[in-house]
């Protein structure tokens, strides 16, 4: 009898678990063992999409977007099967070198993209979306040298715009982050003096170099938030006017907030669109020496690319894979991880652009496919790269996306004196038709639903969208959803969540009902006990 109390309790808790467990366990293909990963929130949107796409093959990929530092560290500690990171191991952060993991590992390029500068600024009550800035001013903004939006240096770059006298609030990452590392490495490379001065102020030793943890000087009004979700979420709150943050372009697209047009070395203000990133990455040096840094990138060339289309803050992130069985990583997991890698290197890259990233160029995909073979337990495949339908590929090996990238409009050239915020009327007709015919013959048959019913289980119109068109307008366009992927872009926060006028009243009634129910439940206990006591008396 006494025992039964305990058993009753435990069984009360367990029974639903077991019941549900049997009824709801998903039809899982037996041959795939789930794999667990963690890391970069910069690439999280892409991985999240791919993770969903491979469920149909029975693969289960668990991914926690906890920041690159966390991912690298967890991989080192063996608590995850794979990690993703924007920066490789072995870089010097401050005065400390990030040690290599003791387990055997290799890098596979994950996805390319631009670190965008997302901001929340209103002029006369309307969201301003056409801000241009040079790298130097941007560095000054993030080092507290420029503190107001109406600073003459910014105003000079945005002629004809009356910027408000509002404080600039830089929003930085509070966790160890690859985005921070990429961004600070760019500042350290390009604007060493300003960056070092700031570091000194923040109590770091100089020369500062790149760091994963953004140094924050108290009292400057900086805001620190964890994760890409955190910073983009903070900036996209309506009340947080005057904020600016560095985050992968896809987060800006998702939240419908504008990003800076950054001045490149050929004096053009450019956006981190897929094509601009692809152009910039043509200048990236890839470490092809076999060894622990094989396939890592050296970005100094990207920062100083002379192409008028190149976006300076472009980079690609890595998937860090184990190349030997160790700890909880088994060959069976290797098989899953390998197939997942094959999937994202080939089919997955088609969606990169829609997601706000840039597809990997052919050389990286080829090298990546070779790297996949190093995963223990992988069912090595000889993927035909030509069948990947990657929009960057072409027959002659050049980067098609980069080749066909639209030139930035004249209005985005430094020193353009037209008053019109007017990138719109002038450029759109020019750029959009220009690119599409160019890419279509090559890529469209591939991206059309017809050829890849497996990956995109929807029907749907086009393969992918030219991002340039949407943002060049200078206005955040209406909601746009791609049926293939279910990805909406350039939508304001409300549009994602379409109001259902007929359902409103119903929902309200339900709310009331639920509240009543809750209160009833709340009251039930005492009422019951009172009643029982009455009975007893």
């Amino acid at each position: 009898m006494r025992l039964s109390l305990k058993t009753r309790l435990v069984s009360a808790l367990l029974t639903p678990a077991i019941l549900f467990g049997f009824s709801a366990s998903p039809a899982e293909a037996a041959e795939y063992v789930p794999v667990n990963g963690a890391g970069s929130s910069w690439s999280a949107n892409a991985i999240d999409q791919w993770r969903r796409n491979v469920v149909q093959y029975g693969m289960r990929v668990n991914y926690a977007s906890t920041g690159s530092s966390d991912g690298r560290n967890q991989f080192k500690a063996g608590t995850v099967d794979f990690a993703s990171s924007e920066i490789p191991y072995g870089l010097k952060d401050g005065s400390v070198v990030d040690a290599l993991p003791s387990r055997a590992f290799a890098y596979i390029p994950l996805v390319a993209g631009g670190t965008a500068l997302m901001y929340n600024l209103k002029i006369g009550g309307k969201r301003f979306t056409n801000l241009k800035m040079s790298g130097e001013n941007l560095t000054k903004v993030f080092t507290g040298v420029i503190t107001s939006w109406d600073d003459p240096a910014i105003a000079a770059e945005n002629p004809g715009v009356s910027l408000p006298k509002r404080k600039i609030v830089p929003v930085v990452r509070s966790d160890g982050s690859g985005s921070t590392a990429q961004f600070t490495s760019w500042m350290a490379d390009e604007h060493t003096k300003i960056w070092d001065d700031y570091c000194k102020l923040a109590g770091r030793s100089t020369p500062c170099g790149l760091t994963s943890n953004y140094p924050v000087v108290s009292g400057k009004g900086y805001v620190s938030q964890p994760g890409s979700q955190g910073v983009s979420g903070y900036v996209s709150q309506n009340a947080n006017e005057g904020t600016i943050t560095y985050v992968e372009y896809s987060y800006a697209l998702k939240t419908g907030f504008p990003v800076l047009k950054l001045l490149n070395k050929s004096d053009h203000y450019v956006l981190p669109t897929a094509s601009n990133v692809a152009v910039a990455l043509l200048e990236a040096k890839i470490d092809t020496r076999p060894g622990n840094s094989y396939l890592t990138q050296i970005l100094t060339g990207v920062y100083s690319s002379k192409d008028p289309r190149s976006y300076p803050l472009s980079s690609y992130s890595y998937l860090i894979i184990p190349t030997a069985v160790s700890g909880s990583f088994t060959a069976a997991k290797g098989a899953t991880l390998g197939d997942f890698a094959y999937y994202y290197l080939c089919e997955g890259q088609q969606q990169a652009e829609v997601l706000g990233y840039s597809p990997l160029p052919i050389n990286l995909v080829k090298a990546g496919l070779e790297q996949v073979k190093k995963i223990p337990g992988v069912s090595a495949k000889n993927k035909d790269v030509a069948k990947c339908n990657n929009p960057t590929f072409s027959a002659d090996g050049t980067n098609l996306l980069a080749k066909n990238a639209p030139m930035p409009p004249a209005a985005d050239k430094k020193g353009y004196t037209g008053t019109d915020p007017g990138a719109d009327p002038g450029t759109d007709p020019g750029t959009d038709p220009g690119t599409d015919p160019g890419t279509d013959p090559g890529t469209d048959p591939g991206t059309d639903p017809g050829t890849d019913p497996g990956t995109n289980p929807g029907t749907g119109g086009g393969g992918y969208v030219d991002n340039g068109g949407i943002v060049d307008n200078g206005i955040v366009g209406p909601g746009f959803c791609d049926n293939d992927t279910g990805i909406c872009q350039a939508v304001s926060a409300e549009a994602i969540n379409p109001p259902n006028p007929s359902g409103r009243a119903f929902a309200q009634a339900q709310i009331i009902f639920l509240i009543v129910l809750f209160i009833a439940l709340l009251l039930a206990v005492p009422v019951l006990s009172v009643l029982r006591r009455r009975k007893q008396n």
């Binding site: 401050g94 966790d175 947080n240």
Partner: protein, 342 residues
């Protein structure tokens, strides 16, 4: 255990009888079955001891690495860069204490009022309901409070904070750097993610538990003394002040300390709200705060060997602080009049 207010007098008498007979030692005859039982009990007690000891020992051992490398400056350094050897808990401990103090300042007056209301003012009919509600509220998960603080309270507190800083900015801890009150375009962001908001949320979170303990103590105030006070012509407030409050003084302090202990260790609600800074930030209205537990939540993943050790040291410091507070609370309660009778 927390709900034995209106129990019948007979039960009370039983408990009292148990009290008066406590010193009597019970003699058992240990036969074979009982020996096994005793063995099981002892081993359970020992294993609990081992588990608890392991936690403490392990924390101390791992923390000693970090403490050894920086020595005393661990308590005076504000920065947190364990890998370059420049780290200390001055900023995070100060942040933790600031948030906890705000929480206490918010929670105690309200708890006191609510506890007095339930035990002295509430009509009998709803008393029982209120007690249940308080107990139930104590069980609301902290993440829910965090949600509320982040999505609701933040927006509501911002204008109040702005107003406070405009009018009382001359008080050092209410001043705000980087905001010009006369500027209509002054950014709201400087008033978000502050110690104040985190403190209010934590304060609300600990209110039910503090209320529950206080009410329990108040309900034990001797009826005879209450009646005596009223009989001598005291007003109800006079009776409450002179009998209930003076009787429950120890309980009030104890409950406050208990709440303080809870507030010090709160993680997730604080983590969701604050924007961490690694300096002592006494300006409570201003963006930027920190706490030990949210530091651990933020940095555990990316911590290297040394980083982990430093986090352990911070956790140990927090643990010891909470420990001191808790023991102080229990000794105050035990020594007070209300505590001695419970």
């Amino acid at each position: 255990m927390a709900t034995k207010t209106q129990q019948s007098l007979s039960k009370d008498a039983l408990a009292m009888a148990a009290d008066t007979q406590k010193p009597r030692q019970l003699k058992y005859v240990w036969d074979f079955q009982d020996r096994i039982f005793r063995g099981v009990m002892r081993s359970a007690g020992s294993s609990v001891l081992v588990i608890m000891g392991l936690v403490g020992l392990f924390l101390t051992l791992r923390a000693s690495e970090a403490l050894g490398s920086v020595g005393f400056s661990f308590f005076t350094t504000q920065a947190w860069e364990p890998d370059s050897g420049n780290f200390g808990i001055a900023a995070v401990i100060a942040g933790t204490v600031i948030i906890a103090i705000i929480a206490i300042v918010v929670a105690v007056p309200f708890s006191l009022g609510t506890a007095l209301y339930i035990s002295e003012y509430a009509p009998r009919r709803i008393k029982r309901l209120l007690i249940t509600m308080v107990d139930l509220m104590a069980a609301i998960p902290s993440v829910v409070f965090g949600l509320w603080g982040f999505f609701f309270l933040q927006n509501e507190v911002t204008p109040v904070a702005k107003w406070l800083s405009q009018n009382f900015g001359w008080i050092p801890f209410l001043s705000v750097q980087g905001s010009d009150p006369s500027d209509p375009l002054t950014s709201n962001t400087v008033f978000t993610s502050s110690s104040l908001i985190a403190g209010i949320v934590v304060g609300l979170m600990i209110t039910p538990i503090v209320t529950s303990v206080m009410r329990e103590v108040f309900s034990q105030a001797p009826i005879g003394e209450r009646e005596a006070a009223l009989g001598l012509g005291s007003t109800r407030w006079g009776m409450v002040r002179n009998v209930v409050l003076s009787f429950g003084k120890g309980g009030i302090i104890g409950a406050t300390m208990l709440g303080l202990g809870r507030a010090l260790g709160e993680t997730i609600a604080v983590y969701m709200i604050i924007s961490p800074v690694f300096v002592v930030q006494p300006r409570i209205l201003e963006n930027g705060a920190n706490s030990v537990s949210s530091l651990i939540a933020l940095r555990y993943g990316e911590a290297t060997q040394m980083g982990m050790s430093a986090l352990m040291a911070a956790g140990l410091a927090l643990f010891i602080m909470t420990l001191i507070v808790n023991f102080a609370a229990s000794s105050i309660v035990a020594r007070s009049r209300s505590g001695a009778s419970s």
